[in-house]
Assembly symmetry: C2
Homo-oligomer: 308 residues x 2
């Protein structure tokens, strides 16, 4: 799957991923109204609104981008109905040949970690039959448990050619509370990065590993160091746009080959029509605003990479 | 909710929680057969088997115990159908007046963390209506993000009188890879424990805080230190039984008042009929075996607390 991601990035010249993190207040009124007219103001109605909203964005952008990253929390908050919309979104994106990064940030140990891995990346056995429950291509994983938490995911990745992005240095302001603490003079996130590199060696694709890392755009200097610590790991970079990261901050996350990083934007793309810059599209044409925001983001990053 | 947990522990004299972590291979054949006869060897069939298995265990033990801890991964691995069985289990346990600890180990930042909190502990707004999606009483949370990850959960806990157990020192062999790293001469888990104590001060119940911690039974010496670091936090202790922890290892997790800890056993209770000790019950009477295992666990811990 990492090979497919690399190939699609080269083809689109767009090392970006669109974060499908739908909040109800992002969703244009006409979509909410139609969904509520059909299902009422119910969890089912909310799920239908999310799904129609996502579909519009995917239809308007899939030819420009290699990947999407649905954030499962935004679906899980609507319970079972929300999770059905998550599944529908994953399936639809895959039908458009997009790489799907399930932003699930799961993490546990042993058989429990294996259960998450099977549910999101693998297949589960029921008697003599086998099923693929959520079937994302990559999943994000929390490293706090150490190797016991990650290895069961790796087993499933090996079997199903799926990949992981392990949280290393997250984009939020308080990420330093634990992640930056010095261990023998070096921050904890570097230790986690070293482990990612080690785990990654066990699961290599052609040029990059199936095991990537999450490093926030908001910490470009740390990204520079971590790029060297994990040379064969793709870095998934959240925090572009809404969280304050800019194209110029991102160059250090990339290798000399122009690869090695994929930058996420969620709100900045999916709710672009709410920004002054794209307001002229209007809420009815929210998906066209998203398309323009994708084009602008590609140009911003491409420009930054050319000027480095 | 922490007050209710304390009250129920006092009433049952059982500082224990039954982990409802159903694996298909734990489930007696007669239950699997009946479920597959009705729904086929499908995800729905697996979910039905899980639900019937859980119901049997809850019916046989609810009068002895204060709380249950369903591990969502074991349901999530069966996709939407599995998550319906999770929801059904949570609802049923609440109808039996059990405190439900959702072992979800979620964690993210800002609005994403808030979405998980709303989904599992709070209520979500859809237009003019409000819904409670999963409605557990407590949730387990991963602290890797720092305060940004925990605070949104705390907001929801304040509003809905729900609680958290934050991962501090996990029970698995490799938990030391990151959690034991020394920061200024002290292990990281102590720093996390200190944060738990601080967060806990903001959300106090009568005697204990709504913010508890997870510390593995397999690390009793660390439990001793952490007990002092977080005097007002309940400690949820996994790793009893199957993972190797014994009653005598557990006394340090408790305060002098005999409270402050709640010990989880999953496999040891729910698959008791598979142990030699309880084999005479037979698979048909698996729930009676679970009841006996609960009684034995209560006696083991009670004995250890009396002998300290």
């Amino acid at each position: 799957m990492i090979n497919k991601l690399v190939e699609k990035i080269k083809k689109t010249n767009a090392p970006i991923v669109v974060g499908l993190d739908p909040m109800l207040n992002y969703i244009p009124e006409h979509i909410q109204k139609a969904a509520f007219a059909e299902y009422g103001e119910t969890l089912e109605g909310a799920a239908e609104a999310i799904w129609q909203y996502n579909k519009g964005i995917v239809d308007a952008t899939y030819d420009l981008i290699p990947a999407v990253k649905p954030q499962i929390a935004m679906y899980e908050q609507f319970g079972i109905e929300g999770l059905k919309a998550f599944k529908k979104t994953v399936d639809y994106c895959k039908s458009k040949d997009l790489v799907v990064i399930g932003d699930v940030k799961r993490g546990d140990i042993g058989s429990t970690s294996a259960a998450y891995a099977v549910g999101h990346l693998g297949s589960v056995q029921v008697g003599s039959k086998s099923y693929v429950p959520f079937d994302e291509d990559f999943a994000t994983v929390n490293p706090y448990f150490g190797s016991d938490g990650v290895k069961p995911f790796m087993e499933v990745c090996k079997e199903h050619k799926k990949g992981l992005f392990i949280l290393v240095k997250t984009s939020n302001p308080s990420s330093g509370e634990f992640q930056d603490q010095l261990v023998d003079g070096r921050p904890l996130y570097e230790l986690v990065g070293e482990k990612v590199a080690q785990w990654g060696e066990e699961l290599m694709g052609d040029d990059y590993s199936y095991i990537g890392a999450v490093v926030g755009a908001t910490y470009p200097e740390m990204g520079k160091v971590l790029r060297k610590v994990m040379p064969k790991s793709f870095i998934l970079v959240p925090g572009y746009g809404a969280q304050g990261g800019k194209g110029a901050d991102l160059v250090h996350f990339f290798n000399e080959d122009g690869l090695g990083a994929i930058v996420n934007s969620s709100r900045g793309i999916i709710a672009a029509y709410k920004q002054e810059k794209y307001a002229s599209f209007g809420a009815e044409n929210y998906a066209d605003a998203s398309r323009q925001a994708v084009l602008d983001m590609i140009a911003d990053i491409d420009g930054a990479l050319k000027n480095r």
